[in-house]
Symmetry: C2
Subunit: 373 residues, 2 copies
């Protein structure tokens, strides 16, 4: 697969203009762009430009309502429930996390739970917002059901990521991961390469382990059974019930607290219904904020300095890879794969934007049709 | 291995009297007993009577101070930091979770972080305390380092369990699990049976996968390297960095918030230093408490009713197995393995209690020496 290199500024301009063409204000378009591009800058290719096609389809089908404004339907000094009215997930989520941050600054900590939203990009973006404000940030989302609970053969929970970010030196702790063993994007990559999946990732329609990426993806799209295993696999031997448990934690903060749809009821019959959960904790509620940061930074350094496993060059703490990727991509540009660029061109055509102006004169002979339905 | 059957009342009397002999008040002894016996009643053998020998040794060596009282060193309406003064983990933790519950009832939610405590039994006990009070409860603890971070060969984090409990019908959600793939207790069972460990559990002193239980346990005791893999294993392919991340979440709530020792510094040089984290969230802060409980109960039922994987008779939601075990053991008694009964007899002898009165006239010819050092 070939790649095209774009600078951060190029992609920002394209993305901003595209979302403005959809009807978002410049301020809104820049917010959405910021979430999507952080993903590409962090090296999380699946959630940046590659996701544009989903937002495109979502807006086109009316799943995502451009004019919707998030509404606070219940609140206390440490909480809020937000009705998203099927708006753009990034806008609702930035709004919701800002409420959590304000409440946590004032009252020590807060949880904000959101219902009837849409895909919000990387969970880590919102955890990072709190971290950038000097707080400990947590962000979660449910999603279209894709995780098969232990001993089942039907996806009942989403990929249900949990992100956590906390200030530290020389860079913050930043953990952002699905509670499934992998995300659907990984399966799509194996499918595109016609490679068998690693053992321990996916299940067929009968709930048996399956390494056939095409079959699993077809089943997922057709809601025919099967899906992805929870972190820990499909048995209790390696702790699959634990991944399933963390998926439940995510569901509690998202759909249960907000009164929204659990993952198994989202994305059915022309309705999205994605739910999110945000939490911010002010370090001041434990006393010495600076001392805490210092102790945490020391521990992270001890982890990085620990003896390596045979043949391993380094130990990472969470967020390090993203920091390095960010620096590299800001300097050297962002590699966007040709299929994604083709989707971006389609989007330009759909919106009446001049694709050559934004994307250059690209040779698409190497591009495949997107697998997104 | 043979087992002796004791009624709940028999074990309660024994345990209470033993802790009173150690110098705890009757009220304190009953609290400790309640934590330990809930574990046996829930079928979590490793954390009930089987742990008595560790408390015995801990008190004997002065790691656990019988007279220590927990002290609140910092607090706000939504938080507290507790200095445990090396007291008994269960007493400090019940005290700490009660503070979290009171604050959450009054102010919506609260986090209480504890330093310089000791082993507190099952994390789930404290999460359940909040659940019994109608709240969502979270309990975590760090521990002697046993989890080897991704690409390392030295244990740097504890088994770092995270427990979550939330009201539901017909029984609450109760999730309690280590962030390692398994706990040390499981390795000890395989060692006693001289069986090779399942692949994907443990690492040798060089950080390579290892199925030799004896070698791994010897290394752990001797702090010679190796240990247990995070949930997800020792590679990124199956998500080992995620289990390591949840271990970090636990560390943040326990040692980092409290200003205590991170797992890699506990249990060194005659010092325990275990840290705990507790959180309670009042469902009232999201509005309709009863509606939430109902919706959550419905989701749990949908999970149990989901189509089963081929050959699987049922799908569990978290806490079901414990509820069934509790009912069974209250009715039919608790099976205690002969090695543990031998340790209980040793404890009687040490404390000057009449072991025959408490434990009956047991034939110990089948018992082995405890592996605890």
């Amino acid at each position: 697969m070939s790649y095209i290199n774009y600078s951060y500024e190029q992609l920002k301009t394209f993305c901003r203009d595209a979302f403005m063409k959809f009807g978002f204000t410049e301020n809104e378009a820049l917010k959405i762009t910021d979430v999507l591009l952080l993903s590409d800058l962090y090296g999380i290719e699946s959630h940046g430009m590659q996701r544009l096609v989903r937002y495109h389809k979502g807006i086109e089908k009316g799943l995502i309502k451009v004019d919707a404004k998030p509404e606070t339907v219940f609140e206390t000094p440490v909480s809020a429930v937000i009705e998203g009215h099927d708006g753009m997930g990034q806008l609702i989520s930035i709004h919701a996390m800002n409420i959590a941050i304000e409440k946590a600054k004032k009252n020590g900590m807060a949880v904000v739970s959101v219902r009837n939203s849409n895909h919000f990009g990387i969970a880590g973006y919102y955890a990072k917002m709190a971290c950038d404000a000097g707080l400990v940030g947590f962000a979660m989302t449910n999603s279209e059901a894709i995780m098969v609970p232990t001993f089942s053969r039907l996806a009942m929970l989403g990929s249900n990521p949990i992100a956590i970010s906390m200030p530290a030196e020389p860079y913050p702790f930043f953990f952002d991961s699905s509670t499934t063993v992998v995300t659907r994007g990984k399966l799509e990559i194996y499918n595109k390469l016609s490679k068998p999946l690693p053992e321990g990732w996916a299940l067929d329609e009968n709930g048996n382990a399956c390494t056939d990426a095409e079959r699993v993806l077809k089943n997922i799209v057709g809601k025919a059974g099967g899906g992805i295993m929870p972190l820990g696999g499909n048995t209790e031997t390696l702790g699959g019930h634990k991944g399933y448990g963390y998926g439940m934690l995510c569901e509690i903060f998202c759909s249960i607290f907000s009164g929204g749809l659990t993952s198994n009821h989202t994305h059915i019959g022309g309705k999205g219904g994605t739910c999110h959960g945000f939490m911010a904790i002010n370090p001041d509620i434990f006393g010495d904020r600076e001392g805490m940061k210092q102790r945490f930074s020391t521990f992270l350094q001890e982890l990085r300095d620990a003896p390596k496993a045979e043949g391993q060059p380094r130990i990472y703490t969470h967020g390090e890879k993203e920091i390095f990727a960010y620096a590299d991509r800001m300097k050297n540009g962002i590699e966007v794969n040709i299929n994604t660029v083709a989707e971006m061109k389609n989007l330009c055509d759909y919106l009446g934007l001049d694709s050559v102006k934004y994307l250059g004169d690209v040779d698409f002979s190497d591009a495949k049709q997107s697998s997104y339905k």
